[in-house]
């Protein structure tokens, strides 16, 4: 059987189709948000939020609640706190993220271990599973994708201004807090959905890698955005196909795919600068 037939065979599984739709949209949203987060030095917030998401899901499952219904509000609140804390608290941003993420992870583990009734496969939460996506999550993800693309298309210029120079944006009368709130809500939702496929420990790579890879080779904001989306989609699909063909864990394969592109882009960028 040829490789193409195998790839076509992938689509005959309905869970695969869902994973492709949801994962593709998450990769797209994460790459757009990632450019802003990386440039504003909030890269690690993605990591912190996914840990909080893990804790919230574990607690939700222990109390027989739908994991997303618990995780999304909790992670949104955590996103607010982290963005706030990193600005005006005495505990510096990176330390605050370290505190919150390890605490949330620990609480999730403790609650999971002490609730006897449930038997969750923690491994699938840590490292993701393409079997995890159900129909309601797919619908939520499509809505999220439309909102994120719409927001970045319509508010492209204010988003640029806030990313580049928040004080100037505020001085010209831009409602910076409103935009930041919207961005943190979108980031939170993207992470909660994405961590089902990518896993708690790997989702932040979807935010960081595409933006960094794009910045190796291009130096315009608009081009970085577009490039970041292309790279993210490319890495998601190649990673997904590779994991299917070689029977590897999906999340990890996607991260490795991102890493390869990053290395290639770094080399290209280096020689471009030299030339």
């Amino acid at each position: 059987m040829g490789i193409f037939e195998e790839i076509i065979g992938m689509f005959s599984y309905s869970f695969m189709v869902r994973a492709i739709i949801v994962g593709g949209l998450v990769a797209l949203c994460a790459s757009l948000l990632g450019v802003v987060l990386v440039l504003k030095r909030y890269s690690m917030i993605g990591d912190g939020l996914s840990h909080v998401g893990f804790g919230a899901m574990a607690v939700g499952l222990a109390f027989n609640q739908a994991p997303l219904a618990v995780a999304i509000p909790v992670v949104v609140i955590a996103a607010f706190l982290l963005l706030r804390v990193s600005e005006n608290s005495k505990i510096k941003g990176d330390a605050a993220i370290g505190l919150i993420s390890s605490s949330a992870l620990a609480i999730g583990m403790v609650v999971n271990a002490s609730s006897s009734g449930t038997n969750i496969d923690l491994n699938s939460y840590m490292f993701g599973s393409i079997l995890a996506i159900d129909k309601s999550e797919m619908v939520l993800c499509i809505v999220l994708g439309v909102v994120v693309i719409g927001a970045f298309a319509y508010f492209y210029n204010p988003i640029f201004a806030i990313t580049f120079d928040e004080n100037f944006a505020r001085a010209t009368g831009l409602k910076v807090e409103v935009y930041k709130t919207i961005l943190s809500v979108l980031t939170a939702v993207t992470i909660v959905i994405g961590m089902r496929i990518m896993g708690t420990l790997l989702i932040s790579s979807l935010i960081i890698f595409p933006a960094l890879s794009a910045m190796r080779v291009t130096h315009r904001f608009r081009q970085v955005m577009i490039m970041s989306v292309i790279i993210s989609m490319f890495c998601f699909f190649t990673g997904l196909v590779a994991s299917y063909l070689l029977e590897l864990p999906t999340g990890a394969t996607i991260v490795v795919s991102n890493l390869c592109v990053f290395v290639v882009m770094t080399i290209v960028g280096y020689f471009r600068k030299k030339a």
């Binding site: 580049f164 004080n167 010209t172 130096h219 608009r222």
Partner: protein, 283 residues
């Protein structure tokens, strides 16, 4: 009325006042330099004027056809911008944001304005360059062009020459002066460079550690060296009319305003007085 009026403003961080009961009036076409040691609240004052930090007391009023959104701002160098992937044109265009309103894209007029302002700053050849690759002086020119897109009336600058080499510094002062003299744009600038502050500005605001301040014409400042002692209190009749017309501000509150050149207090430590005693001693 004045273009910018600060009435008894106080700004506090964690209960400690960094700016305390300060009142100034800035007129159209003024070039005001704000000087003083570190920690005397210079940047905080600018941020208070721009609405970036909240005031504990007092009021900032804009007049003469100016409102807060029409003020151009050139902030202190932001280390985050060092590797920011943006073209010069993208940066300058972002200054047009407030006129754009809710349209998602910039109009032709705004694009033309951005290019025209780049030209005014002598940076039109760098339109497509990467902002992060420019030299410090060039970056400041680009940010000035951006500020010009936001205003044609007043630009507020926070230490614009920090980190620039002497040539770029002189160049920056020359440019700002040109904006002030040729285009009539009001300049309010925080600086550590007292020589250039005295060379170009017409008014000085000197903030002292004890929250006292001197605000007045440069010529008076030269005589008194920013003395805030009561002996150097101004003749009330010389105060800007606009300030006296505002009912709540009394001449007493403005006692640290422009100074009378004849200092009669024998215990005064002001520059003017010590000069007098020195020359007196030699005779």
């Amino acid at each position: 009325m004045s273009q910018l009026l600060c009435k008894n403003i106080s700004i506090a961080y964690e209960k400690e006042n960094v700016v305390d009961n300060l009142s100034i009036a800035i007129e159209q076409g003024d070039y005001v330099s704000i000087i003083g040691e570190n920690g005397t609240g210079k940047s905080s004052l600018l941020k208070g004027i721009l609405g970036l930090v909240s005031l504990k007391n007092g009021k900032v009023e804009f007049g003469d056809g100016l409102d807060r959104k029409n003020v151009g701002y050139l902030s202190q160098q932001n280390p985050m911008q060092k590797d920011f992937p943006a073209s010069v044109y993208e940066v300058v265009l972002s200054g047009c944001l407030k006129s754009k309103g809710f349209r998602p894209f910039f109009s032709k007029k705004e694009r033309r304005l951005a290019v025209a302002n780049l030209k005014k700053m002598g940076m039109e050849g760098y339109k497509k360059s990467c902002y992060a690759d420019l030299s410090g002086g060039q970056k400041q020119r680009v940010l000035l062009a951006r500020a010009l897109c936001a205003t044609d009336k007043m630009i507020i600058l926070d230490e614009p020459v920090t980190g620039l080499d002497p040539v770029a510094t002189a160049d920056m002062y020359h440019l700002v002066n040109k904006l002030n003299k040729d285009l009539g744009i009001t300049i309010v600038m925080v600086t550590h460079d007292i020589d250039n502050a005295l060379k170009y500005s017409n008014k000085i605001l000197h903030l002292h550690k004890n929250n006292k301040y001197y605000f007045g014409p440069k010529d008076d400042y030269l005589i008194h060296g920013g003395c805030t002692d009561e002996c150097c209190a101004p003749d009330v009749s010389e105060l800007p009319r606009t300030l006296l017309d505002e009912e709540k501000i009394t001449a007493d509150e403005l006692k640290y305003g422009p100074a009378d050149s004849e200092c009669k207090n024998p215990t005064c430590q002001c520059h003017h007085h010590s000069l007098n005693t020195k020359t007196g001693g030699e005779q």
